[in-house]
């Protein structure tokens, strides 16, 4: 992105031409990355950006085409959540982050593909079908923000926004060989993000480099009075510079290198960690004793919240309504049965179950308590280290339809990503190598709340000493 911004300013490239070209390529795309392409809107904002650049405005986002995940509301532009339920929903408001993008002059190229309502890790549950991984089109780009990650990897847009509830930015970033940040809970407003699990959801940037991620993160973070969980504090810009990692304490939890971890992934990640070691960082072992319950806790909390968050899709005011129904009850049942696909329904049922009378204490209540223990785990761990590192995912990208009938195994692959959501911590996935068959591997960096500066600085350092992020599919 920053290279495009520089070319705009050298007059080597015109934003309007660049965006026109990007629109054309988005239409030609065979990866099924976009749900909606905003030809008209994108050109219009490109023209405006061009004007602002001519007026010597320095903002690096001016005229940059960006993909926005289709669960982030865009005023006047269809926002479907990759669901039949919302296939015709046009929000009358912008999400906070979209407002910020527009203010900064970024060009919203289109809305990117995802798993239905962000529930999944392959984009296979999308109502327009799965996106494909640009490194191997038989493989999944990951999910749920698979469209955004694949679009960036394929060069269809320089940067993109995703959302991350249990790894939905980091896992596809890892699978697509790009950089993705799940920010601290409360640092980016959720206003206008169609809720999946409110206490876990967070919008974040995806780009090739940590530097671009940092620029985009700076543009979207900040206090928003319209989101009560948004933290009101003094947000400093991220230093767009390498972090001196000499003496930096890097915590490596053995639990992140346990059973189920693919050997090729392990090798790439360990080598990634050693890059920091060679630069003078201290590698320390840290314990996170309750992480092993992370996936279980996550699927209770997330589905519980989802079952309630998705109750509003009842066919009454907007969204898909079954018009054949004879009475109210039937309309509810049919609209929701036909409007949602299997995975969403599965999670609604799970969530309804764990909140039910007689099961609440056993599941939701207990999960909430273990969640607190996980938060304490990290608090303790961060006394001994500054950044925690490990793999983003246990496996490299797998076949698009490999896991479709095995939701439980798919859930278990979220093992490394869900803890950051449960604890509200920032986490970054950066490319750290490739498998023997040439598929990208990502490594995850986690830091204490609001220490995105550490993560992005370390990411910039890593990318100054490695070339994985420069590889193209």
């Amino acid at each position: 992105m920053l290279d495009i911004a520089r070319r705009y300013r050298r007059d080597a490239l015109s934003p309007v031409d660049h965006v026109r070209n990007a629109i054309q390529r988005a239409h030609d795309d065979e990866l099924n990355v976009f749900i909606t392409i905003d030809d008209e809107g994108a050109l219009l904002s490109a023209e405006k950006a061009q004007e602002r650049i001519r007026n010597r405005e320095e903002n690096p986002l001016l005229g940059i085409p960006i993909g926005v995940k289709d669960n982030i509301c865009t005023k006047g532009l269809r926002t479907t959540c990759a669901s039949n339920m919302l296939s015709n929903f046009v929000p009358p408001y912008d999400a906070f982050v979209v407002e910020m993008l527009k203010k900064n002059g970024a060009v919203i190229l289109g809305k990117t593909n995802m798993d239905e309502f962000a529930m999944g890790s392959t984009t296979a549950t999308s109502n327009i079908g799965p996106s494909r991984n640009p490194w191997d089109t038989e493989k999944t780009p990951g999910g749920s923000s698979g469209g955004s990650a694949a679009a960036v990897a394929a060069g269809l847009c320089a940067v993109a926004l995703g959302s991350d509830t249990g790894g939905s930015i980091r896992q596809p970033a890892s699978f697509c060989g790009v950089t993705g940040l799940k920010p601290t809970y409360g640092s980016v407003s959720r206003f206008g993000l169609v809720a999946f699990a409110s206490s876990l959801d967070q919008i974040g940037p995806i780009a090739r480099t940590a530097l671009d991620v940092a620029v985009l993160y700076d543009a979207i973070k900040g206090y928003d009075p319209k989101d009560s969980t948004s933290v009101n504090m003094d947000y400093r810009p991220i230093a767009l510079d390498e972090l001196d990692v000499k003496g930096l304490r890097i915590g490596v939890p053995p639990v992140f290198f346990g059973e189920g971890l693919d050997p090729e992934v392990e090798k790439a990640v360990r080598e990634g960690v050693s890059v920091f070691k060679e630069l003078g960082a201290d590698i320390v072992e840290v314990e996170l004793p309750h992480i092993r319950y992370g996936v279980a806790v996550y699927y209770i909390v997330a589905t519980a919240e989802a079952s309630s968050n998705l109750a509003r899709y009842d066919g009454v005011r907007y969204g898909w309504r079954d018009k054949e129904s004879k009475d109210l009850f039937e309309m509810y049942v049919n609209s929701r049965s036909k409007g949602f696909n299997d995975e969403v329904k599965r999670r609604i049922m799970l969530g309804t179950y764990v909140l039910s009378a007689g099961y609440y204490d056993q599941y939701y209540e207990k999960a909430s308590r273990v969640r607190t223990l996980i938060i304490y785990d990290f608090r303790e761990a961060f006394k001994a280290c500054d950044i925690i590192m490990g793999p983003t995912t246990p496996t490299p990208p797998f076949g698009i339809y490999d896991m479709l009938d095995d939701p439980l195994s798919l859930y278990l692959l979220d093992i490394y990503t869900v803890p950051a959501n449960l604890a509200g911590l920032p986490a970054l996935s950066i490319p750290c190598g490739f498998t023997s068959s040439g598929l990208p591997v990502g490594m995850q960096l986690m830091a204490p709340a609001f220490r995105e500066d550490l993560l992005l600085g370390a990411g910039m350092t890593f990318q100054a000493h490695t070339r994985f992020h420069e590889e193209r599919p």
């Binding site: 509301c73 169609v194 206490s199 969980t229 998705l310 005011r317």
Partner: protein, 476 residues
């Protein structure tokens, strides 16, 4: 067999905030359907609630006025159920951590004082409203009410008769109106009541099986519904049958309650903490800030009026019914030390005019000073009580001072004995037959002569003097 009645009440009051509880929409009643709405109160995708702190202020106010403990830690919860008037599919309310707990309200029933425990008071949002058109096979939904702030006040089952229940409701309604947090309008639904009721053999320690009653939108309905339900319970028990635990609706037209849903059909609301709102901390400073704004409460005021002004309890009850009337009464007493006279005028004439014209005392033309001046004129004998009624009407119509009206209209009482005597003589001369009857012993004709004299003087004759003059002429 004799039975004990056990009643607990759940009251929902709509708060008089300008805007809704979680968005900036107006709370105005009666606007065109779906005009006071926005993405938040329509439950659109991706929007979030932001708490209106005024609602918390009002909740604290009521909590303090009911001697409740104000919770420092408040957590909002979601109550999940499907209904077309509930846009999000859940209602944001409070569950485990309500704003106020363990309060009480004293009520006066049949001359004795009773303390009714208040279990909890919590904040929540109202739902929209379904509008049914019988000519159509569908219903409309109006979301203007969606998100209007409510307080739910849950009492202990401390009421043992319908009169207890009605007294409690009246006291509570008056209280919330005094606090300025609710308009108390039962018909429009800004003060709504559900009842839990059971009966048990007299003296038994275990509660009977209770039913919940809904849809009682006036004190009379509450009274009738509870009476009906008590006798329904008693009859069932007398027949050796069981009361079913269920929710029943009062049908005011039919005068009976009907099953709405049975225990088996009752919802599992799947309450859980609302993740879109952070825990609300109400610290001591906040509570103190609100405590300073508390007015004198109606019951205190009532007792003070009796004690300080020596008026009967009945007068005190009427005068304190509304805070502004009580203030008006006390304002009058700054100008005249005649509490009972002032009270009489307010209870009869002032309240009558306010009611007839359905206006507030704030819109009333007669200021406390004017009313007091008028009463002073009566006391000084300048005008009679009867003339005063006319002066009162004139003051109300024109806003003029009473002495000016008296002067302009020549309403001064005739205190001159000579003048009255001349007029009286003329009257006696004109009615020889009646004079004769009087002298023959038909003494009740005195009233007739006085009436004639009043007529002749357009009511301005001083009544005592008129009496004396006529009597003197007839018997002298």
């Amino acid at each position: 067999m004799d039975y004990d009645v056990v009643i607990g009440l759940e009251v929902h009051i709509q708060l008089l905030t300008d805007t809704k509880i979680f968005c900036g929409c107006s709370t105005r009643f009666g606007d065109a359907p779906n005009t006071n709405v926005c993405p938040v109160c329509l439950g659109m995708p991706g929007v979030l609630p932001v708490l209106n702190e005024k609602v918390v202020d009002f909740g604290i106010k009521l909590g303090l006025a009911t001697n409740s403990t104000i919770s420092e830690k408040n957590i909002f919860a979601r109550k999940n159920y499907f209904y077309p008037d509930l846009p999000k599919g859940y209602q944001i309310t409070q569950y485990d951590y309500p704003l106020c707990q363990k309060g009480f309200l004293d009520i006066d029933v049949d001359g004795r004082t009773k303390r009714i425990g208040i279990t909890r008071i919590h904040m929540e949002e109202d739902a929209g409203k379904l509008i049914h058109d019988e000519r159509q096979d569908f219903s409309y939904v109006d979301f203007n009410r969606s998100g209007v702030p409510l307080l739910e006040i849950v009492s202990e089952p401390d009421m043992s008769s319908t009169s207890d229940a009605v007294a409690y409701l009246k006291e509570l309604r008056q209280l919330v109106m005094y606090l300025g947090i609710c308009d108390g309008n039962m018909e429009q639904g800004s003060f709504r009541c559900d009842a839990n009721i059971s009966v048990k053999p007299k003296g038994a320690s275990d509660y009977g099986i209770r039913t919940e009653l809904k849809n009682m939108n006036s004190f009379r309905n509450v009274q009738n519904a509870l009476e009906y339900e008590i006798s329904r319970h008693v009859n069932l028990l007398e027949e050796g049958k069981q009361v079913e635990q269920e929710t029943r609706l009062w049908d005011a037209n039919a005068g009976l309650t009907r099953t709405m849903r049975t225990k088996e059909e009752s919802h599992d609301y799947r309450y859980f903490p609302e993740p879109d709102l952070i825990p609300l901390v109400v610290d001591a400073a906040w509570v103190e800030r609100i405590r300073k704004t508390l007015p004198e409460l109606p019951r205190e005021k009532r007792y003070r009026f009796v004690k300080d002004y020596g008026i009967p309890m009945y007068d005190a009850e009427v005068l304190t019914q509304q805070r502004d009337i009580a203030d008006y009464f006390e304002a009058c007493l700054k100008f005249i030390d005649a509490p009972k006279d002032v009270s009489n005028w307010i209870m009869t004439e002032v309240l009558r005019v306010l009611k007839e014209e359905s206006i507030d005392i704030a819109e009333f033309n007669i200021t406390p000073k004017m009313l007091s001046d008028m009463i002073t004129l009566i006391k000084k004998g300048v005008i009679s009580g009867k003339i005063a009624k006319g002066v009162f009407e004139d003051m109300h119509r024109t806003g003029k001072d009473p002495s000016l009206i008296v002067k302009e209209k020549g309403l001064l009482q005739i205190m001159d004995e000579g003048v009255l005597k001349d007029k009286a003589k003329a009257i006696l001369d004109a009615h020889p037959k009646e004079v004769k009857s009087y002298k023959d012993g038909k003494k009740q004709l005195l009233g007739f002569f006085i009436g004639q004299l009043m007529k002749e003087t357009k009511g301005r004759a001083n009544p005592k003097l008129a009496n004396k003059v006529i009597k003197g002429l007839l018997e002298g």
